[in-house]
């Protein structure tokens, strides 16, 4: 700022930037290329002057403005480049729907097939594998009696209390015909492990009445086990549904009104490998708003929101829910 010294106070006269502006403008006006047309000015007055200054001097140097503009367009181009992969959102993903159950080899986490004779009897660990779709867990249990010896599980007829219909559970497989697999999704409200899990014989007793979640048993469950003369249970801690693993996952106590769907296993005696080949019972997810399931477990496969597990499915030992 140019200042004018008087006796006491400074008086500002002209801003420096204004001075440069005036110098620029006058230079442009004298320049023959951009000659200021006085006749036009007389004709059009102020407007012409404003337009002239805007065009020839501008508030910002035209070069700078162009450079800045190109940078902004550069960022905008970057934004467009960034949006392009996002347009994939318009491409519908392909959904694979299977018509039948896959034959899946049960493998451990490192990919080696599970040996049927090496599955521990009455293991308190929650052992699950996904089948037939990803995200649908099933228990793998080697059932035994109260002394820990494997028990042969015969084929049984299972009743669906909700509909009164029945189906045949094919029975256990393996060297002792003691290995079974049931859906690990409770048929009452869909609880999954650890809330629903297998209770080995040593945990089916009054001490579990006061145990903390998720290894509590209800008195009704204990009583039902006694009446059915089964040493072990599958019990859901959410609302207390109890299933009988020795008889095809049939209902021992409510609130569930459907047995656990069972996975059909196949045992290859020459290799000792186990395969999951299908399912029996009801569909894992109840169909329709009234909650009545179909008797056809194939219904589950028409879900467009999962994908089949393929020819191998991994058996995981998630945890031992019992603290003591």
């Amino acid at each position: 700022m140019i200042r004018f010294k008087s006796d006491k106070e400074d008086k500002p006269i002209l801003d420096y930037s204004n001075l440069t502006f005036i110098r620029k403008l006058t230079r442009k006006m004298r320049d023959p290329k951009t000659k200021f047309d006085t006749k036009e000015f007389i004709n059009r007055g102020e407007d012409y002057l404003f337009n002239y200054t805007n065009k020839n001097v501008g508030s910002v140097d035209e070069k700078r403005r162009k450079f800045l503009k190109s940078l902004i367009f550069g960022i905008a181009a970057a934004a467009v480049v960034g949006v392009i992969p996002g347009l994939k959102v318009l491409v519908p993903p392909t959904v694979t729907v299977t018509s039948g159950f896959p034959k899946s080899l049960l493998v451990d986490s490192s990919g080696n097939p599970i040996k049927a004779s090496q599955i521990p009897v009455n293991s308190p660990f929650i052992v699950i594998f996904e089948y037939p779709m990803t995200g649908e867990p099933n228990f793998l249990i080697n059932l035994g009696d109260s002394s820990g010896k494997p028990v042969e599980i015969p084929s049984t007829i299972v009743e669906v209390p909700q509909t009164g219909k029945t189906y045949t559970f094919p029975g256990g497989v393996g060297p002792n015909k003691s290995i079974v697999a049931y859906s690990a999704i409770c048929q009452h409200l869909g609880c999954t492990p650890p809330y629903i899990h297998f209770y080995p014989p040593q945990y089916v007793g009054p001490s579990q009445l006061t145990a903390s979640e998720p290894d509590q048993l209800t008195a009704a469950a204990l009583l039902a086990a006694k009446q059915a003369k089964v040493p072990a249970l599958i019990h859901c801690d959410c609302h207390g549904s109890t299933y009988d693993p020795y008889h095809g996952g049939s209902v021992l106590t409510g609130p569930t009104v459907r047995p656990l769907p069972a996975v059909v296993l196949e045992w290859d005696s020459s290799t000792d490998y186990l395969y999951a080949i299908g399912a029996v019972g009801v569909a894992a997810y109840p169909n329709g708003s009234n909650g009545v399931p179909t008797n056809n477990p194939n219904e589950d496969l028409s879900s467009s929101f999962g994908s089949p597990v393929g020819d191998k499915t991994t058996v995981q030992e998630t945890e031992n829910p019992f603290s003591s």
Partner: protein, 536 residues
């Protein structure tokens, strides 16, 4: 070249002849453009909503939501930012409304503009509720149940339930989806009116220019201001991209937070809750979406639904619609309309207070004594505060600004939080309450210190009557230019990187974060360009 292109469009589109408000220099501040922010959130939400419409299946609400999140390429990015676009729209609409309330923008001649705005707020909340219900998760169904309960307990209103929700319980969300879209279309329609009316009257001038109604620039005055094209357009674009950036970044970053405490869930969790028929649903405390937490809390105050509706919905709404006709003074200064400013401060305070309360104790009934204890202190503080502050006029008869409504609002909020924390500490002395009390007490002391000299002495800042902008020094412009260059480099790097992000799965949300960052850079770049080129 670019100026030729710009001129070409200007001529073809007749941009100079648009009946749009020409803007004076001092209005390029964000509080004059809050409406543009709401609009940009609205547009973002509409665009993402249309994309979601390609995938949403009303017959399987929850499953298709999961499908969008897990299987559609960048589906979770679109879905989460759709949710947060709506959140942003609600918050910004409130901010926009309260700012204009305190500024007196509802006064003549903008009464109709205001009323349409209030109706749009109601529609926005309704659309948000319907959209929230479309997920079909445990929280959505319980929210619908609560809504249905409220509607059906009023005699004669229960016919609206099947009208609104259709066969919701049977898992058919067709009606909800249709209403969600119809409401959005209505908002869009009203927005057109709101926008053109706003352009017609022009943005409300600063109080320093026009402190009495009707606060409008005459056509002759505004002809001298900056034309709409290109400056307003440039400024608007910077706001649009900045808000889109935040809408994209925040939810997609939050998607990586796991295991939030229950209190933070309704505000910060963009993911759907488990479906209502799942085991996990049994372990969820039900709460409504955050923008209805205040209503949910008021519903706990009384068992009479009519009283609840009157307190929570009808009275505030009728008040907001009628306020242009109740407040008939010609002055715009907040201190000349103390009663209305007081009501406004209390409305904002109560809204925040009740929302937080509803979040902390969802569905817990509150005795009347406790209600009084919570709602009385802010009322007393506001009443005393407003009577203590005297408007001062200078020798020309103009009112001088002594205290801003925002400061008052902050003070009320700080002091009521302080009072609540104090009560909580006395009732329940634990380390947690002490830990909460001490910082709040500190904030209270600080705000009191800030407000006390103004309130007691009504000390005045001498404010410049002229509202011309100060000239920006050249070095600042140079700095801004440098920043644009830096932003450009970052944007290019990010744009190259964004192609490597997988379309689905855990990392796909990084796409939203990155794209949001690029939008932020674009918005900030345009804003800096505006600064360099147009600021004097």
């Amino acid at each position: 070249m670019s100026s030729k292109l710009s001129d070409w469009f200007k001529e073809r589109l007749g941009l100079d002849d648009l009946p749009f408000f020409k803007t004076p220099d001092y209005m390029y501040k964000v509080d004059y453009w809050l409406g543009a922010l709401v609009a940009s959130a609205f547009i973002y939400t509409v665009i993402t909503g249309l994309i979601l419409l390609l995938y949403y299946n009303a017959q399987a609400g929850y499953n298709s939501t999961e499908f969008v999140i897990n299987s559609v390429p960048y589906g979770s990015v679109v879905l989460y930012s759709h949710l947060y676009g709506a959140y942003a729209m609600i918050i910004l609409a409130y901010v926009h409304m309260f700012r204009n309330y305190f500024a007196g923008a509802y006064k003549k001649p903008r009464e109709l503009l205001w009323i349409i705005g209030v109706i749009m707020l109601v529609l926005t909340l309704g659309t948000a509720f319907l959209g929230y219900s479309l997920i079909g998760d445990a929280l959505a169904t319980s929210a619908v149940d609560v809504g249905e309960g409220i509607i059906s307990s009023i005699p004669g209103l229960s016919i609206f339930i099947p009208l609104l929700f259709g066969n919701y319980d049977a898992g058919d969300y067709g009606r909800v989806l249709a209403w969600h879209i119809i409401f959005t279309a209505l908002i869009g329609l009203l927005f057109v009116f709101h926008f053109f009316m706003a352009e017609h009257y022009g943005m409300m001038p600063s109080r320093k220019v026009k402190d009495k109604v009707p606060a409008v620039y005459t056509k002759e005055e505004w002809q001298k201001f900056n034309p709409w094209w290109p400056r307003n357009f440039v400024y608007m674009m910077s706001l649009v991209f900045l808000s889109w950036g935040f809408i994209l970044i925040i939810p997609n970053a939050l998607a990586y937070l796991n295991g939030l405490p229950q209190q933070l869930n309704p505000f910060l969790n963009p993911k759907p809750a488990p479906p209502p028929n799942s085991p996990a649903a049994a372990h969820i405390t039900t709460y409504p979406p955050w923008f209805f937490l205040f209503l949910y809390k008021i519903a706990d105050f009384t068992s009479d639904v009519l009283i609840f509706l009157f307190i929570g919905v009808i009275i505030p709404l009728i008040y907001l619609i009628l306020v242009p006709f109740l407040d008939r003074t010609e002055y715009l200064h907040p201190l000349k309309r103390k009663v209305f400013v007081g009501i406004g401060i209390l409305m904002a305070t109560y809204l925040i207070q009740t929302t937080i309360w509803g979040d902390l104790t969802p569905g817990v009934e509150i005795p009347v004594g406790q209600q009084v204890l919570v709602y009385l202190p802010p009322a007393i503080i506001v009443a005393l505060g407003l009577t203590a502050i005297k408007p001062r006029t200078d020798n020309k008869g103009n009112i001088k600004g002594t205290i801003s409504p925002i400061t008052v609002l902050a003070f009320v909020l700080a002091s009521s939080l302080f009072v609540i924390a104090g009560i909580e500490l006395l009732a329940n002395p634990t380390i947690l309450t002490v830990g909460i009390f001490i910082p709040l007490a500190g904030i209270f002391v600080l705000t009191t210190k800030k407000i006390a000299p103004i309130a007691l002495k009504a000390e005045q800042k001498s404010e410049n009557m002229a509202i011309s902008e100060e000239r920006v020094p050249e070095w600042k412009k140079k700095l801004a230019e440098g920043l644009v260059a830096v932003l450009f480099i970052y944007a290019v790097v990010l744009a190259a990187q964004i192609w490597t992000i997988p379309a689905t799965g855990y990392f796909s949300n990084l796409f939203g974060v990155d794209l949001g960052l690029i939008f932020l850079m674009l918005g900030e770049g345009i804003s800096l360009y505006h600064y360099v080129v147009y600021r004097k």
